[in-house]
């Protein structure tokens, strides 16, 4: 069992770091709202999702302490993201190619 109990260090970030992350998250929330009022066409979704992913990363890395976690915990996070990628990618094999040939009978 020793192989995986790689002594998690109970590293605690300073209060200043947490405040900085909080301020960044609030700023990104305002930015999301502001961008929603600007018509960027195709890029509206891209930018909204980009901001959302940045916020998710900040929460996971700082508030959930993934930054200072064991390799096993990081593997769990990567595994979760990988499975989300499987869900999106294989679903897109349908949605991205559905119109390439017509549906018989239509």
């Amino acid at each position: 069992m020793q192989d995986e109990i790689d002594s998690p260090q109970h590293h605690v970030d300073s209060a200043g770091t947490y405040v900085a992350v909080l301020v960044t998250l609030l700023f990104l929330t305002i930015l999301t709202t502001a961008v929603a009022y600007v018509d960027l066409g195709y890029f509206s979704t891209v930018i909204a999702l980009g901001i959302a992913c940045t916020k998710m990363l900040l929460v996971a890395l700082f508030f959930m302490h993934i930054r200072h976690s064991t390799k096993l915990t990081k593997l769990v996070v990567v595994g979760g993201l990988l499975w989300l990628a499987i869900l999106l990618l294989l679903t897109l094999t349908d949605f991205a190619t559905r119109t390439w040939i017509g549906v018989p009978g239509r």
């Binding site: 499975w83 869900l87 094999t93 190619t97 559905r98 390439w100």
Partner: protein, 539 residues
């Protein structure tokens, strides 16, 4: 070791309802699950009985089409979500996984109890829906039936499944942490029994897949109740998106149901042929491979759903890969038997049944993975026969194998071997009589989910209904003799089968904390040279 009346074990350590309802002992929680899933098994069985009675004649003369829709929906919901998914992991896994790795309990005993309460709460919603009039969407809740047209108790049932899903997630979490953190000294990953590997792989699926089911149910809820456009094309949604999300969980859920069963079979085959499982590492990794590959194949449920033909090709191709780790298991079990000292006790009979029936179920799955054949037999009884060969011929046979194998450990009593062998035979005959004719019916074109059918299909349907009656007797018999054995069964020793696992090195029934002293593991799993002459430390 002699069993004495005074010896304290998990069953006599405390008494009264409160001692059970507030227990944190994984063994008692396993038994709570056993009572709960047995209830749902008989509820699901009652719906199946009505379905088979209706199909005795070609006319829809027993129930209306609407009632029939509700019967097959509720049969599936009771059996899948409240019997099969929790069956082997939550009952046998809960009871034996910690003992098999030399732990005193699961990592989070309170969360383990919470998991059971969540299953009961979810089951209560589903039961309420059944009693109040049922739901008629099919267990798959396909849109737009479920979001727009269905009149039944869609939300109550879906909420029940949503809540029960968290039970499944928490059990998976508990198992994974337990296996990582609580193995006894010397219990390395490659000394773990294959039942533990199988439950570990199952837990990965439960954690990675079940949240997607929960999300899908929430989306269904917001569209049905708040009319948001997610699946409805009139509001900018896509009904096929529901099928993608639903099967992303529900195809791997098939492996949640069957993988733990494969773990049971590995234990039983090894014990009753007195040989280590052939190719241990391959069998262990094939469980993980099934868990991973199971997530890449869901689109084979969508071949006729207007899914892109290109996506269909990809999913058809990927579906064949699952056959590889499944075949590794079947071939390795067979190789384990080779030159083994085989004995034919009841668990072994069920294990033989599993191997044959699961192989038929698995190979017909390959028929269905082939695009051309699938389009011919989609929504026919061929599909019904296929998944019953996997679920009933596979999982339930394995569950019964496990129940007989570990019954002496759970209760300290032997079941009557003669009656048990007879029941195994009756289950095998009844099962094949019920479901084999359905392959032929499906091939001939009889569609599923109709309460009436053309008269030329009657003979095969009568055979199927007759088989179901035989099967019902086969399932009732263990209920009777297991109960009988609690009082009258021969007292079991610590290791009545001469098996190798740590669970057989403690007393029957086990003490509250499983072992008086933490065991130190010095041998590989299935090392039969260690069985005789060893010292039993508890008693």
């Amino acid at each position: 070791m002699q069993l004495t009346a005074e010896r304290e074990h998990y069953l006599n350590a405390s008494y009264g309802l409160k001692s059970w309802l507030l227990t944190k002992d994984h063994k008692r929680i396993g038994l709570l699950y056993l009572f709960t899933i047995t209830l749902f098994f008989f509820i699901g069985g009652a719906f199946a009985t009505l379905i088979r009675l209706e199909l005795l004649t070609p006319q829809g003369d027993l129930v209306s089409d609407d009632v029939y829709n509700r019967l097959f929906t509720m049969h599936a919901i009771a059996m899948i979500f409240f019997f099969m998914i929790p069956s082997i992991p939550a009952v046998l896994g809960n009871f034996f996984l910690p003992i098999m790795i030399g732990a005193r309990d699961l990592a989070f005993p309170r969360i383990n109890l919470l998991s059971w309460y969540l299953l009961v709460a979810g089951g209560a919603f589903a039961l309420f829906a059944m009693i109040a009039g049922g739901v008629d969407t099919g267990w798959t809740f396909y849109t737009p039936y479920s979001t727009t047209y269905a009149n039944g108790w869609v939300i109550a049932t879906a909420l029940g499944i949503f809540i029960a899903g968290f039970s499944s997630i928490l059990t998976g979490l508990n198992f994974i942490v337990t296996v990582h953190r609580m193995r006894a000294p010397g219990m390395t990953w490659f000394r773990m029994p294959l039942f533990v590997w199988a439950n570990y792989a199952t837990s990965l699926i439960q954690i990675l897949g079940t949240p997607v089911l929960a999300v899908t149910i929430v989306l269904l809820f917001v569209e049905r109740v708040f009319h948001l456009g997610i699946f409805d094309p009139a509001r900018g949604g896509d009904p096929v998106l529901f099928q993608h999300l639903f099967w992303f969980y529900s195809h791997p859920a098939v492996y949640i149901m069957v993988l733990p069963g494969m773990g049971v079979i590995s234990e039983v085959i090894s014990t009753f042929s007195r040989k280590p499982v052939f190719g241990y590492a391959f069998v262990a990794f094939s469980s993980v491979a099934i868990a991973v590959l199971g997530f890449l194949v869901w689109g084979h449920h969508l071949f006729v759903s207007t899914q892109s033909a290109f996506a269909g090709l990809v999913f058809s191709f990927l579906s064949y890969f699952v056959a590889i780790p499944s075949a590794i298991k079947v071939f390795n079990w067979t190789a384990t038997l080779y030159k083994g000292s085989i004995s034919f006790e009841t668990p072994m009979l069920y294990a033989f049944g599993f191997i044959g029936l699961f192989t038929i179920g698995g190979l017909t799955g390959l028929f269905l993975a082939a695009l051309g054949i699938d389009i011919h037999v989609t929504d026919t009884y061929f599909v019904v026969a296929h998944f019953h060969y996997v679920m009933v011929g596979g999982t339930i046979m394995a569950f019964l194998a496990g129940m007989h194998f570990w019954w002496p450990k759970i209760t300290g009593r032997m079941y009557p071997e003669g009656w048990a062998k007879l029941s195994a035979l009756i289950v095998f005959v009844g099962f094949n009589l019920t479901f084999f004719p359905q392959f032929i019916l499906g091939y001939m074109g009889m569609p599923r989910r109709y309460h009436a059918y053309p008269p030329e299909f009657q003979v095969l349907n009568v055979l199927s209904t007759a088989g179901a009656s035989v099967l019902a007797i086969g399932y009732l018999m263990p209920m009777v003799y297991f109960t009988w054995s609690l009082k009258y069964g021969k007292v079991a020793g610590a290791n009545p089968w001469g098996a190798t696992g740590l669970e057989w090195k403690t007393a029957s029934p086990p003490p509250v904390h499983n072992f008086d002293e933490t065991p130190i593991v010095t041998h590989d799993a299935y090392d039969y040279s260690t069985v005789h002459g060893e010292e039993i430390q508890v008693g």
